[in-house]
């Protein structure tokens, strides 16, 4: 139980998926302009991460049993792509309100390296199924935290007088650097709380 909480805290703060591991930078920079799109995108990512972990974990056990572990990359990306498509269709048919808020981000998630990244990490780290799910949840929540915080930073930045040559993407990256720097302050919190 302690380890599960540690995994969650690590995903959220110390090993934040976006700000310290650099997974999913494209949506982090691209969809963080407005708070509501940032929340929608991250909710879709959390959803797909959990589904993808639940789907790929048993598949990986099967692959390893049959000595086919080298097929991981090919199979995982196909499973994720198919899963995203399926989720989109199901949501569109049965859960229209949810589709309207999450659906439009789903197609963009197939090529989001955060999803494939968390799936591969779970297997590299040798987590059990439950640990893998918690780790994915932590990673997804960390993604959401970074997106929401950064959306706020960008909103503030809109009113700032930015030098001409830094306008646009460069100042966004520098701002991301400062947000990432502030997360460095959480270093050691897991050890400090006595969770590991």
């Amino acid at each position: 139980m302690k380890y599960m909480i540690a995994l969650l805290v690590m995903g959220l703060l110390t090993n934040n998926f976006v700000l310290s591991k650099f997974y999913g930078i494209c949506p982090f920079l691209g969809v963080s302009k407005k708070l509501n799109t940032a929340v929608g995108m991250s909710a879709a990512v959390i959803f797909v991460m959990l589904m993808a972990t639940a789907a790929t974990y048993p598949i990986n056990v099967l692959l390893e049993k049959n000595d086919l572990a080298f097929l991981q990359t090919v199979i995982f990306i196909l499973v994720i792509a198919a899963l995203v498509q399926m989720v989109e269709i199901v949501l569109k048919k049965f859960m229209k309100p949810l589709y309207n808020s999450l659906g439009i981000y789903l197609p963009l998630i197939t090529t989001n390296c955060a999803v494939l990244g968390v799936v591969i990490l779970n297997i590299d780290e040798g987590y059990t199924f439950l640990q893998a799910m918690v780790n994915s949840l932590g990673a997804g929540l960390g993604f959401m935290l970074a997106m929401v915080l950064f959306a706020g930073v960008r909103k503030k930045m809109e009113n700032c007088d930015v030098p001409e040559f830094l306008k646009g993407l460069p100042i966004t990256l520098v701002a991301a650097s400062l947000v990432s720097l502030s997360f460095l302050g959480f270093g050691g919190i897991v050890e400090g709380m006595g969770l590991i």
Partner: protein, 258 residues
């Protein structure tokens, strides 16, 4: 002669005019993650270039056979196969690089540069041109990574090309007399300085990338070109993206109401 000239153009456009990292803003994740040292940057660049050239060749050879409706999954399978091959080769011959790159080696699959070139170029052009395009883009990617890597490694660790033997192990043991990169730490200590560790931390990655981007934008705008932007235009999924229209509508609506 005319063909030869345009082949050269296809190659050079990837280097500067359409540099995948600094102009098209693709493949940002590996750019930020692996550039803590130049050695890693070169390794990642070469691995991505191999995948890019091979997948461009195969996709352009199959471009008339693949039905356009299932082209994205088909491209992903081709790319994933080559990534698996490269991954196995790296594990076998350059094991230190495999440890250094970690999950970012299999993650070449979702590197937007590769899917983007497949969709934007290889699916419309002949095999030779696609191969040259892939090579140019790959070299441009490697060059951008090396620039980032140089800034970060020199400032952050006080070394340059440290651990290069990990890559040179391909050519045998102790190539170049076991030379393992420059180390300025001794000289720095002599004048009472220390490397700025921040630059090899994640925050430094964002910062260096931002500054490089600003320089690239400056050069581009002084030549009368557009600034680099992150958006749907360069996204490889743009062609098939069902949400693009809805998304644009909702963004426009928001913009109108604000």
């Amino acid at each position: 002669m005319a063909e030869k000239k345009s082949l050269g153009k296809e190659f050079t456009k990837g280097l500067i005019k359409e540099n995948p990292v600094l102009r098209l803003v693709l493949g940002t994740c590996p750019t930020l993650a692996v550039t803590t040292s130049v050695t890693n940057a070169i390794g990642m660049g070469i691995a991505a270039t191999i995948v890019l050239v091979c997948s461009n060749i195969v996709i352009s050879a199959l471009r008339k056979i693949i039905p356009s409706k299932v082209r994205i999954p088909a491209y992903i399978v081709v790319i994933a196969s080559f990534v698996t091959i490269v991954q196995m080769l790296v594990k076998a011959f350059v094991p230190a690089l495999d440890t250094a790159l970690g999950a970012f080696l299999p993650l070449i699959v979702v590197n937007c540069i590769i899917l983007g070139r497949a969709e934007a170029f290889a699916s419309k052009n002949t095999v030779l041109y696609s191969a040259v395009d892939g090579l140019g883009m790959g070299v441009g990617f490697t060059a951008a990574l090396c620039m980032m890597g140089t800034c970060r490694e020199v400032l952050g660790a006080g070394t340059f090309l440290a651990g290069i033997q990990d890559l040179l192990v391909l050519f045998g043991d102790n190539v170049l007399g076991g030379w393992n990169g420059f180390d300025f730490n001794g000289a720095l200590e002599f004048v009472g300085l220390q490397p700025i560790t921040l630059f090899i931390l994640p925050a430094g990655g964002f910062f260096v990338f931002g500054i490089l981007m600003a320089v690239a934008n400056k050069i581009a705008t002084s030549n009368g070109k557009q600034k680099a932007v992150l958006g749907c235009a360069n996204c490889p999924m743009a062609g098939t993206c069902t949400s693009k229209k809805e998304h644009e509508n909702c963004e426009n609506k928001e913009a109108a109401t604000v």
